[in-house]
Symmetry: D2
Subunit: 506 residues, 4 copies
């Protein structure tokens, strides 16, 4: 960063909202991303226009669908915002009631059904929610004005119907050391400089979901912080095309199929997920977009509330689970095996597991409690239970889908072979199954199951189900903390006739 | 039945409600059962006074606790009845909203925590709910007046604060034959005679929960019926001490420990469950207490709605699960092993499974929909999912509790040995564990875990969790019916780019 | 212990073998136990003659069956002993080859099928095996003569065809302290005095399987010992009726059904298990029966080898598993449900799990390696894997058996009710299932399943499967130790093209 | 096929063995494949030289390693052939004893450890075994001379050290119809013509493992056949480059990474599996290579024996499981998390599951029984149990490996980005974990785990584990057939005191 850069960065910041035009649907969302001067690396090259890159586009399409759903099903995917006195996309809505949380979960399941992938907008949504109460709480403690800044930002965000992404996970370096103890201070994002107009942040956010597809990124701490880490206690809003940002695209299983001719082998040609490393090389944030600035003691609670919201958001995987059930049922039908009792039984098991996940999210929403700032937070225990089942059941659902698909799922020749003059007719001859079902239907359904269990969207359906919003052990730790074991010991001791030894109880 | 019996039976019926005095608490409930002329067999003998029988009494205590809870925690265990314009015990409340269903589930969990057993009142509660809508629906179709009779009955029931038990499960005989096809017509309950004043029923209801402890029994069909089975389509209210009733008490694992001196080896000395065979030898029901009389076509829907309510009622097992978590944590502490990471991890797993069950009940309640009669029914899919997890998780929770308990749980000498002059001091010397924890505490906690995993209350926590409200396969059939596989195939085909073949879809 | 006692005890010891007459079959085994002056407490009373006590006798019958099997199937249950040049009961045979270990496992499974319970002879058998090599190894290190003493003892044991029990598990007291650190030194067995003729031991052995039914008890350490614990490093052979011994009988679920009239409700009227607390109040062991005396460094290896043998011995549970499969299939047939596809599928699952357990034992035997003393030890990893599956699968098999049994398993009235003039005919009328199957068959099969899943033999099939030969965590620790993770990292690094960093490897 | 073709085909057949030179190691094996005039389609193009195709070569390397192992560890991977009086590669050895079967299993596990993929040689090995006994049995029944032809073939095969592949799975078409009932007769392979010198076969073999890499293909029926299917009852040996053969290559997850520059992103750059559709367009087989010709009644037994051998061969997956355990342990170490108790616990669980699979294979081998022809067949029940666990445990092992890997496994940027001037240093800065561990090590290990759980070798480790040698339901059917439920009912009835009703038993 040379000496002149800061000023330019600071000036640029002043006009941040001016560039936006309200987004109305998926198409206008896609256009809104075009022509931004973002620095993106993918396969060792800078990407000229991400919107048109065949690997990146499916991830943009998934986000675009969050706009189209709002148009097609406004009852589900919009909500009335008191902030601007108008309906807003539910992904920008502040959760004002348990029912808002329930509707959020239903919309997430629906989006999963429509896209069969990670549509990348939940972390941002949950960030919006958590900032409402955290800024409120910091202000009450420290007399700051973060909450008003937050409300101002949200008015613009809702009015312009933009996407906010969440930049949370720091690279972390040596996991046995705290942020301020790392050999390289940048391994956790921190304030590198403060000026009259704002502050600069340095560091990176790893596996950021839909990073490149967001209009704004909210950076925030990833773990609890101590007094020595106060420069790491920073929350701020950064435009996705801010100067100093670099995106390096994460590769996925089978990602390059998106570069191939034809659409069948892609499995799900239209939709995909996206995770990027986002590097912040002294990115400027003006004070009006700073929502935490050194109040390290709130980092832990912020993370706790965020995970409580976000672990229930993994209910989206039940939408993908619905697709898996449907795909398994369809392929069984194409194979002529749909009447076998073991086939039905496996579909039942898949459904049972999927609905079990759904239950915990809905229950967690129902049991929501109000926070001081006036909004609601879903039940933490049940959100963790939801996510913990998500770390298990999609794997079993996926295994059962592969069982019903048959081995052809991993031995089917390429679409290009089906197009070949000689090979094509041979393949159509020998892969004919049940009469009346075109071979291409089998191809397409097998490729969809491959896509979701081994390919590009398996990344979202399986591995992200494990690690997103915290890996399994993170949920177990939360369950341990919240399980109120002393109360439960009391029940047992009451029934067993054990008077608690006072010394132990004391 | 001799010739004079019917008249006496019919006359007796006229004054059925006259004998009752409003029950105010557990104590007055127990008194209300005393002195009834019921015929009960247990261990080959007629029981003189069931209330004082040491094997039967714990099951009565469990029901008594449903009254005490209403006194101690009225917000949880009572509700305002519009029917009588006064608060009523929630076990007699008609579910008027999703929140009523949620409160029902919370109360059930709480009762499980308090008693550690099956408190026997849920089948009756769910019967009350289902009759509201079914009588309404029959009336609409057939111009009958069942619904008003039902409301009249419920007013009395609520005013007198009595217990209604559910008599549903017929012995069934040869399972490949319908009711009217059985060699012995009594293997399903049926109308044996109709008179001016009412009708007579013959047959039996198997494993009836808390049968002997109910003031009234509602008899109803156990499965769908056809035109040939119309005499089997009968619903009616019968006092628990009606003439012609015979109870034969089901025995349970370790039941005779209740006859032993001392209370420790009982594990849970105060509370237990109860299942009886109830035989109806031409029991009379006056018309005002008849709620179905031949409308066979409604049997299937009645059973379907009942199981939908009742499968979610198995959330009670999460209360027992809380006791198991507490007992396992307590014994680990007494053994000095509570800080081991694998011990904590097992408690987390037990909690996770338990809360997963809880989730589905709450979600099912939240997703309740109104019926024509104006009350609410919880979501059927999620209720089945709830119950289906109940057929699995308590077994694993129980296994983990036994793991934490240690082998001593099944090798501990008897309480009498601990009382013996010579053996007692030896046992106290050698079974001393962690300092400051009396050996008796270990004894008691081990006996509680034995009680719930092998003994008397394992019947309720394990086997009844499998079979109550339908065995696992019954849930799988319901899940199959409700899983909307065609809709889900549509999601998969949309993403895979498969246009559905019209012939197949047609 | 008064001053004159020791001498008497020491003199008595001289004639220890003289009293025995070779046992020929189950009947003569039972007679061999009669008239011994053992001190036994049960239900707060001294038992006059354990052989005739209805609660104790089934456990004796199970051991008697090990003799009868040898008569009925000598190929399976006897082996040629080179020690005495004659065939011996395989439970007294020293394992000279992998095939000996395989035959041991087959015999154990067969015994499980015959008795449906713990037949209590495996710990002794595995003790015999481990002492062969441990005495040999101690002698090589310390120049002692334990191995010859062991061989002399075994000659007598084989010639007299007696039962050796294993006294291993100390009460342990405060688990955070070593033997020599306990407040009460007796919480681990130790040498209390040494004389010219031998030594005295004090302490107790907890949950000793079949303790009371053994002719001799081998006492041995239960864990690794340090220099400070050398008095705890003692192995010796003690007659089951030695002076100073006291047995306190462990109670089991449903144990008192053995005192009831009739045999049906017992489930398995003939066979049961037994665990006792055995107290050693300065019991004398002459030098010729002492096999370790202070060589504390060998305790750990002794325990390790014992558990390696013994964890594979839990293959016996596959014999009980066979009974469970058979019982579930039989009750499904009696209920008329045996042709349902889900019923067959559950039987397949039960079988699959059961044979998986069997596999690990046989594989462990096959992979046996010779020890220095010339005998064989089965593979430790696979023995731990075998036992670890035993801590899981019987619970699932049991759950599935309860599923197929139906709820009647826990609501069936007592045998006495079936005998009653009035109640009996009612019960037979209403519990008639499939034509041609007597109601009594259903009763008996349901009681057997109750016996093995909740009742007396559930203790052995379930809880002992968890804790016998070490609880689940003990197996996990062994698997961790033996899993050769560095070798496996090497495979991964080779394929991944990672050269191991020398600093880390060093 | 024009008129002149047959003659040329028949003449060509005469010199079939003449072209081979004994193969000595992996290198000479690879050379042996070069220059064959095979017709192969891949990605819509004919492949000129499969040996040099970057997607195909890893599968050839895996087979080559079976030769190198024989050189490096002859005790494990060679055996003495009585047929030629010399040592042969164990993949060509006829199993003459249980120990041969055990050694086969050990070799398979070792190959899995070395290659981390399907090395494609087991189906051929198991075909060799099954033909020994089946040809013997047909000869005994029909007086044919197949067995001698088989022995003659095997002498050449062993002497030339070639690879035999198994062509078994027909496309099957409409699964509700038998071979002779299909609309297109070619959907099952059949004899299309018989001449003086031999016969011609038409049809295809689907997902043939390593088809293209075999010197000879043995075609054989895939299911039981009836009299109408006698033309489908054909077994014969066909050179891999026979005229009339066409291979169409099956694509795999991430297959095109093999075409990318660099080796890191390949995960396992050296080894991969292969499945092809092999089309037989009137391929000629001279009589000396025909081993079944219409004896349809033997098809069922042939398939049964083949699956018995082959289901135990899935023990190879324990070798891949060892790699997974190692990879998970390595990445945990690189991440600095290897001392966490939950990490160790997950490694233990992975190992436990992996060794459970191993157990069943070894036990199945140990329990082998001799067949009439003099060779041994492993135990069918335990082989099915082995394979059935293979359809479950690798999925859980894979899930646990992904858990320990962390989310970076699916968000890591491409190798090309790491090579880029600007992006590379950023990535190395931010992905530095534990000190002293190069970032490249993390990259490589994450890519290996991706390869085995989502990528190219997940095909073999997961989906093929489900479907190879029969899908899960096929094993359940075999377990059902072999579980001897009547014998087990007998055990239960004996213990329950139930005399079997003669009518039922009859």
């Amino acid at each position: 960063m040379n000496a002149t850069t800061p000023d330019r960065r600071e000036e640029f910041a002043a006009e941040r909202w001016a560039r936006f035009r309200p987004i109305t649907d998926g198409k206008s969302y896609i256009e809104s991303l075009r022509g931004r001067a973002v620095t993106v690396y993918l396969f060792g090259e800078k990407v000229e226009e991400p919107v048109d890159h065949p690997i990146i586009r499916p991830s943009i399409n998934a986000l675009a669908d969050t706009y189209d759903l709002a148009v097609e099903d406004p009852e589900l995917a919009t909500a009335h915002s008191e902030l601007i006195g108008a309906p807003v996309n539910r992904f920008l809505h502040i959760v004002g009631s348990p029912q808002d949380l329930v509707m959020k979960n239903r919309m997430q399941r629906r989006m999963g059904q429509r896209t069969g992938t990670c549509f990348q907008r939940c972390a941002g949504l949950d960030t919006i929610s958590v900032l409402h109460s955290i800024t409120y709480d910091i202000d009450r403690k420290h007399g700051t004005t973060y909450h008003q800044r937050y409300l101002d930002f949200m008015k613009q965000a809702q009015a312009n119907n933009i996407i906010v992404g969440a930049g949370m996970t720091d690279p972390k370096g040596d996991r046995s050391k705290r942020p301020s103890e790392q050999a390289d201070p940048d391994l956790f994002m921190h304030v590198s400089r403060r000026t009259e107009r704002g502050l600069y942040v340095r560091g990176a956010k790893a596996h950021m979901t839909g990073g490149l597809n967001s209009h704004w990124i909210c950076v925030m701490p990833t773990m609890n912080l101590g007094p020595a880490d106060s420069d790491y206690a920073v929350v701020g809003m950064v435009p996705g095309d801010a100067e100093g940002l670099t995106y390096i695209y994460g590769r996925q299983s089978c990602d390059t199929r998106a570069l191939e001719k034809g659409e069948i082998d892609k499995g799900n040609a239209r939709f995909g997920g996206q995770e990027t490393l986002v590097v912040f090389d002294d990115v400027f944030i003006p004070w009006e977009h700073v929502l935490m600035n050194g109040e390290y003691a709130f980092a832990q609670e912020m993370v706790a509330r965020f995970t409580s919201y976000h672990r229930a958001s993994y209910v989206c995987k039940t939408g993908l689970g619905d697709v898996m059930v449907g795909a398994a049922a369809a392929i069984a039908e194409y194979n002529g095996a749909d009447q076998a009792s073991h086939v039905k039984d496996k579909l039942v098991e898949m459904t049972h597991l999927n609905e079990t996940i759904f239950s915990s999210a809905i229950a967690s929403a129902h049991e929501a409690k109000p926070l001081e700032s006036g909004i609601y937070m879903n039940d933490g225990m049940l959100a963790n239970v939801c996510k913990h089942n998500v770390t298990r059941f999609p794997y079993e659902i996926s295994r059962l889908a592969q069982d019903l698909a048959g081995g052809l799922m991993v031995t089917l020749p390429s679409e290009a072979d089906f197009e070949h003059d000689v090979a094509g007719p041979i393949l159509r001859k020998y892969f004919q199954g049940r009469a009346n079902v075109p071979v291409e239907h089998r191809q397409r359904m097998l490729r969809l199951i491959e896509n979701m269990t081994l390919g590009r969207n398996a990344v979202g359906y399986l591995t992200e189900s494990l690690h997103g919003a915290g890996s399994p052990q993170a949920q177990r730790i939360q369950i341990l903390r919240q399980m109120e074991v002393e109360r439960k010991k009391g029940y047992a001791e009451e029934l067993a006739g054990v008077g608690r030894n006072e010394e132990r109880a004391g």
